[in-house]
Amino acid sequence: MKKIVAPPKLFHRFFRWYCHPKMLGHIEGDLLEDYRDRVHKKGKWRADARFVLDVLLLLRPEIIRPMEGYKNLNTYGMYKNYFKISFRQLAKNKTFAAINISVLTLGFSCFILLALYLHDELSFDRFHSDAEKIYRIVQHEQQENGTIRSVSSVAPALGKEAREQFQEIEDMCRLSAFGRVTLGNDPLTRTHERALSADPNFFTFFNFPLIEGDPKSVLQNSDAIVISESIKEKYFGEGPALGKQIWSGYMRQGKPVYLTVGGVMKDFPKNSHLQISLLFSDATWNVQYRDYAQYVNTDWVDTEYTTYLKLKPQSDVALLTAKIKNLVKSNYPTDREFKSNFELQPLQEIHTETEQFQSAADEFNANNIKPFYLYTFAALGIILLLTACLNYMNLATAVAIKRTREIGTRKTLGAPKFQMVTQFITDSVVLSLLSFIIAIAIVYAVLPFVNVFASKALSITTLPVEWMIGILFIIFIVGILSAQYPAFIATRVSIVDALKREVKLGGSSLSVRKALLIAQFAISIMMVASTLVIYQQLNYLREKDLGFNHENMVVIDVNSRNLRRNFETVKTEFSKPAEVLGITASTRVPGEWKSFPIATTKSSENINGSEMIFVGIDNDFLDTYQIKLLAGRTINDPVADSLKIVLTQLAVEQLGLTDPIGQTIEIPKVRYGERMEELEQPFRVEVIGVVEDFHFESLRANMMPVIFGALNTSIQVIDYYTLKIKTNDWAQTIETLKTINNKIDPNTPLEYTFLDSRFEELYVTDARRGQIFLTLSIIVVVIACLGLFALVSYSVESRMKEIGVRKVMGASVNSIVRLISKEFLILVVIAGIVGLPIAWFFMRSWLQEFAYRVPFGVSVFALAILLTLIIAFVTIGLRAARAARMNPVNSLRSE
């Protein structure tokens, strides 16, 4: 019997363990053959030694089995295959790919833009290094009529005193606005700038960067100003301006005051609630006004100073608020009733929680936005993304059913369900990423226009990495989720059916796709209806009869004493040109200009008094503004009629007067912006006329009652001339007016505004939001229609034979188009039923912002449905007509 010779077992097993399985067979064979040979030739011992040596020398990277298991190689190949198939699918169904990519790109671009916008809105005031520690003191004051007046500023003495008394406060900074100042060394180019004054620590308290000057000392000296870069360029041109002097409209001992540039600051970033271009040092007022220091340190009643506090970490904000309230209460004059509540508003919340504050100066609450709009925009972004996904799901499902042969083949070859799902996920992720890349390019391209339109400084690069990753993640998730449904439908079919190509459009799959389409169109109809309502409201605001004439009116701001002193002469001078049809002087003009003096007015029937706008007018006011006089007469002479007034109907009503003419009413106090002033002795006046109601302010607010008095009252001085103009050449007319102005006052330039453009400006943000809505709803409708188009194409293709048979039997093109359209149009109608209530609810809450709103009802919604139906019908019709016109031979021959 042949003796079995075997190599050393241990090394043989070692070799079998480490050798790559693919090579194991033949190398082992070689080894054994060699071994047997050697045993014969050289003996077992020598052969064993050689075998061990060979095994050890074979232990090389080329021969060892890979660490991660050699089988992985297969799966990597599979992934490669998934991508290959995905791209082939795209190339095969070009229309499908084009529609999907454009829809996803549209959806993603809008989503990214909205994300950028939201990020910008949420980034307000976060660039200060101590942003979390800074608070603004705001005050809620209860009015006599029970309403609450909220102001974002407090008494001048509060800040300093609180800083000294309360441990929690690390630092304090006050700002106050004092209107406008005329600047310019050259009398011809002088202009007016809004100006504020600030405590010396402003630039160390906040982090607004300075280009010139030392942050610690720029606001130290009197007559020192800090100007923004753009103001510097306007007055000093290029190059440094530090230490340069500039003429100002202020006078001191009969001489004009020259201000010194103490510093130049960068223009304030757009995402700051403070927008300041000119800052005075507080020290300037100590020189300018004798009692200024005393006023600032002892006044506890005025609400003129916007006060910011920097708190030490872990301070109890509620406790400090209570302490502040007590501090003000204990210092409040004893003869006045203290009815205020205080609140510490975190710096970062100012941007979104400022709506209710009445502040004379826009600088303090610039660009604020209601959280409502932020939520709306976030919702819009998600809605857009959602419609794009629904669309994708719908199309992918339609195409997936065509891919049953592929699925069948995969199944036959033993693919588990998981692998087929992976194929679908790869498809959608590939598509999403492609669209994402295009979307980024589009965002880059349109961003400059968006920035101009929204007056923002958005940029992709300012978006933090986390946001970018978040967006990518959402898009990825969207890709994976949208693949689930098509994958589910496609993998459900049995192998035999799939291979036989006898897949019926599963009833449930069709109804789900219809549901998706309904959802898309519900969103579209919602957007269309909302846009219609927004535009109706904007139109309503523009067209609404305000109760006075605001067209072709030029308003001249009075900025100097020369223009104010002899208003009769000024009026005659200005009325000389033929273009001027009328001129009137008044203390205020309609259109939310500067703050109105609000007079508390009492009558015998109304003892508590009501707040009314007080305007001083001359004898031409009612004629120029075309305000209708209902009874009595108007103010004729500034002196003789100085104790006479004219009321609006609303004022008469609020005062409870039945026969107003000849009655006497009483004005005990007047509020100027933030400041309430008791008149030295109550102003007792006689009613001589009643005029029709008119809207003095934006239509967001309720109509206020108005009192017209004479110009020469203690309440206010002339601030405006209003000219009614009729001209064909506005530029020429304005030149004429400028010449007249220079004759009267060579030192101050003419400042004029068109009254109607002023009223347009009141609604400029609304108009802008309307445009955003319009754009987004067009995009949503386009997406929905592309989806509809693809779905109709699919339906038509799968019914080609049916259409052919129908045509052979004598059906007309029209009847076939009708047949195909009907089922889809029903979906749109259902979508309307779903979408409209949501739109109605949403629009109702938006319109709450306006005191005067357009009545909207069935007609708007009917219009929205009709519009959508027409668009849908055109989409369907295009595709259906093509199918219906085809020669039936082509479709019937295909067997």
Partner: protein, 108 residues
């Protein structure tokens, strides 16, 4: 595809595969080399070289039948490919052309 290089030992193995046409497998190549080179060659070196030249596409392989004296293991037969042959030709020409440049000097 980039031009593959051919190491010295790889070249010898490739030559041997070509020479043994259709009969080349591990042990035979090893024995052939040992005979020509007159020195011991390790089987591991042969296998690594074979794997490398196969990856480079100079040889292709097929599995043979099961034989008794290999403990029931298959043989893996290697055959030179057209690319491998071209490579050998190129190497040969290169060497020859340089060799011809050697001046005729006596090395007595």
């Amino acid at each position: 595809m980039t031009q593959h290089s051919l190491g010295e030992f790889e070249e010898l193995v490739l030559l041997m595969v070509a020479a043994l046409h259709d009969e080349a497998y591990g042990v035979v190549i090893l024995e052939g080399l040992e005979e020509k080179l007159k020195k011991k060659v390790n089987i591991s070196a042969v296998h690594v070289a074979l794997k490398r030249i196969e990856d480079k596409g100079f040889v292709k392989s097929r599995m043979g039948g099961i034989t008794e004296d290999r403990g029931g293991r298959r043989k893996k037969f290697y055959v030179i490919t057209a690319l491998g042959k071209r490579m050998l030709d190129a190497q040969y020409d290169l060497r020859n052309s340089i060799y011809k440049q050697i001046p005729k000097i006596s090395f007595g």
